[in-house]
């Protein structure tokens, strides 16, 4: 599976499910970059077949609408959509 890793400060396990053409997903990537945190991301639209289905199911566990960006923190909670304040506060507390 094509999981990308962006290195930075360890703030727990941060996993971003994104779409490569989505402007709001790009905003999350930029925000995480500017906060210099360590995170992983998958551009779900670039996956195919089984892999795509598998990841879609995973996203739906956190966000039943399967919308993007879905940002999962520490396998515990998620922020769905680009909500700068919420992402900032969750990362600080994480």
């Amino acid at each position: 599976m094509d999981v990308k890793h962006v290195e930075g400060k360890d703030k727990g396990k941060i996993m971003l499910y994104a779409i490569s053409t989505c402007v709001w997903c790009k905003k999350v990537k930029k925000l995480l970059g500017s906060l210099n945190v360590d995170y992983y991301y998958i551009d779900v639209d670039l996956l195919q077949g089984e892999e795509r289905v598998e990841v879609e199911e995973e996203v739906m566990k956190w966000n039943p609408l399967c919308s993007f960006p879905t940002l999962v923190m520490n396998d515990k909670e998620s922020v769905n959509g680009y909500d700068e304040e919420e992402i900032r506060s969750k990362i600080q507390n994480g």
Binding site: T21, C22, V23, W24, F68, G81
Partner: protein, 171 residues
């Protein structure tokens, strides 16, 4: 000319076209040009990838028939403009946003889930059966609500420019 320049030219051309079409029918593109251009680029990427303008901010199934509702302009644009002053991805905005009275923020996804969509499809098949007394069928544009009574829907919606396949038999 290298590939990047060609893409840039295509993006600019489409951006201008969409802007003109929007303004001529009472819609507005997002005035944040950098943001909007990125979305237009996404549309072109999806055109190349899937053969249709899937919303750049939604996960396309890659099967056109299943994604008709999210082909830009999507079926959800107008209700989202009314309720939130922006469409889901932010390509189209209300005049309040253009005038600087409102800001574009993330909005909830209006598109039903895959399971709900499958249920709705079955339901609408049942409803349209049974109305037969009209001299012509009435077609409704699922994007903007335009109605017309004729044998078949028009090639392109005269109001919002959505293509023929976006029409449903209304009556």
């Amino acid at each position: 000319m290298d590939e990047m320049n060609i893409l840039q030219e295509k993006v600019d051309k489409l951006y201008k076209r969409l802007d003109e079409e929007a303004e001529s029918s009472g819609y507005h593109l997002n005035p944040d040009e950098e943001f909007t251009i990125e979305l237009v680029e996404g549309l072109l990427v999806n055109e190349k990838r899937y053969g249709y303008w899937a919303c750049p901010c939604r996960l396309a199934s890659t099967i056109k028939e299943k994604d008709l509702d999210i082909i830009c302009p999507c079926d959800y644009r107008d209700p989202d403009l009314s309720e939130y002053d922006t469409c889901y991805c932010g390509l189209y905005v209300s005049s309040a946003v253009v005038n600087g009275e409102k800001k574009v923020n993330k909005i909830p996804e209006r598109r039903p889930t895959k399971t709900e969509r499958e249920k709705l499809e079955k339901k609408s098949e049942n409803i349209t059966a049974g109305i037969t007394k009209l001299s012509k069928p009435v077609w409704r544009c699922k994007v903007c609500g335009y109605l017309c009574a004729r044998d078949a829907p028009p090639e392109v919606c005269p109001i919002c420019k959505a293509k023929k396949e976006r029409f449903e038999k209304f009556l």
